[in-house]
Amino acid sequence: MPIHEKSLIRPENLKTHDQLVIDGVDVSGHWSTFIESRVVSDYNEALEAEIASLPGGEHIHRCWQCGSCTNSCTVNAINPDFNPRYWIYLIRMGMESELLRDKDIIWQCVSCNKCTYACPRDVFPEGVMKATAHWLERKGHTAKSPSMHFDEVFAEQVLKTGRIEESRTIRRFFARTKQGLFQDWMVEMVKGLLRGLPVGLLTRMGLATLIAPRTSNWSKASAAIQEYIDEQHTKQEEAMSLAQLIDTARRDAAA
């Protein structure tokens, strides 16, 4: 299937005129649609380096724009505006304002790695999508996406106990994103589960929601992981020149 990149032309740049005569020739009507050329003047030359400093973005410089990622992409098949190749292009060119037009869909990458499978240059586009979503959030362009909330709820539990207990994770996620747990399809699922479950297993599942499974002697590992995450966070802030920004703001406020 061809990739439709028509959406890359902004609708406001498509010009038709009801009444227009140029050099004595009548060019009225949509048959002579003009595309107004766009002028980009606000390049962020550091954009590629910023994305590359976040986990997953490391190999973005290798991209040669073949488009195999977009062509194989699961999400692109249901939403043509989801276009990894194009975003990689914008990032490498430093066209931040163009990238921001798509800021609300980038997080929707489902990590299927079809792009990674297809990419001839080992860019690992899946990682670039994650890095870009993080960049957007940390620069304040987007609120935390539902997916990031989920990652955090999940990671917090692993960090704390060493293991995941699904119903607890799901409950916390729904609470944090302010959604009700009793959605019609959830109720139907649980009904399906209740149908054949022996009492023993039900009690076990009930117990599991009270006592989260734990890996014993986990506290040392947990502390070490937390320390590492904090270290990395500081390094990335530096690379994204956020630290500098915060410093400047502080000094400004003090003056």
């Binding site: 499978y117 997916s147 692993v158 293991r163 699922m189 054949g196 995450i229």
Partner: protein, 310 residues
Amino acid sequence: MTTKDKYKKVAYYPGCALEGTGHAYNRSTKAVGKALGLDLVEVKNWNCCGAMEVKNIDPKIQTYLSSRVMSVAANEMGMDVVMAPCNGCYHNLKKAEYDLKNDPSSVDVVGKLSDKAGHQAYKSGQVETIHALDWIKGAIGEEGLKERIKNSLAGIKIANYYGCMYTRPRHIFPEKDQGPGSESTSKPHFMDDLLAAAGAENVDFPLKTACCGGAHTMSDSDTSTRLVLNILKAAKMAGADVIATECPTCHSGLEMHQIRAEKRLGEKVDIKILYFTQLIGMALGLKPKKVGVHENVSDSMSFLKEKGLA
């Protein structure tokens, strides 16, 4: 040592999902192992491998979490094969193995974190990580399985669904795509091979490795529902009665969004969803209860009765 002998006794890493929504897979995997005379020794005091979420916080933490599981198997239990039935776990252990082999900075981080956590760091090459499919195929093989079949799956049409993480990214599976006998990353066939040996008819299913949107099953449920609906419909169109799964996340994703598609989009696709271990277990003569059919969300009992398996 031959693969057959090597896989006779393996370290078993069930992972978190197999203690929750994927309990039927846990039960059926163990039951099949027992019926085939294979020994599963659970990894002692295991931890979560990081699933699909932790890598988005930091990929190296995921590498560490997975490496700890392999370290326990190798250094505390003296095992040389770790078997993980969950695609997520299998994938993450393989990814950690790949990182520790190819990326010195991962070795460095894992070394430091293991030190602080107070256990020996895992070194690449200490264990071989395999999937439940590799396990049965390697330890028993199609011929061996054929000899042990009591209830043939004859007359059951199956679409084999492998999902994403069993084959992608290809980089972390150096043993795949190595010619005859090896698994293929573009058209995987190990599950097809085993179910065919059990008598089933595999349909030509184009979406074997399509993605069900599992990463956003909670955070972007509508996308997942649409992706699952594609998979269910394609299987139905290919003529399948059953979708066979080999991962708790894929399995519960299909079950959950089968219901959600009906509730939210008014699209009902009547197809049964069963773990391959449940199908093989029943072919080996085990009762549906023994392989946890009653623990599945979708109801396939009447279908199984009709086919003479229950």
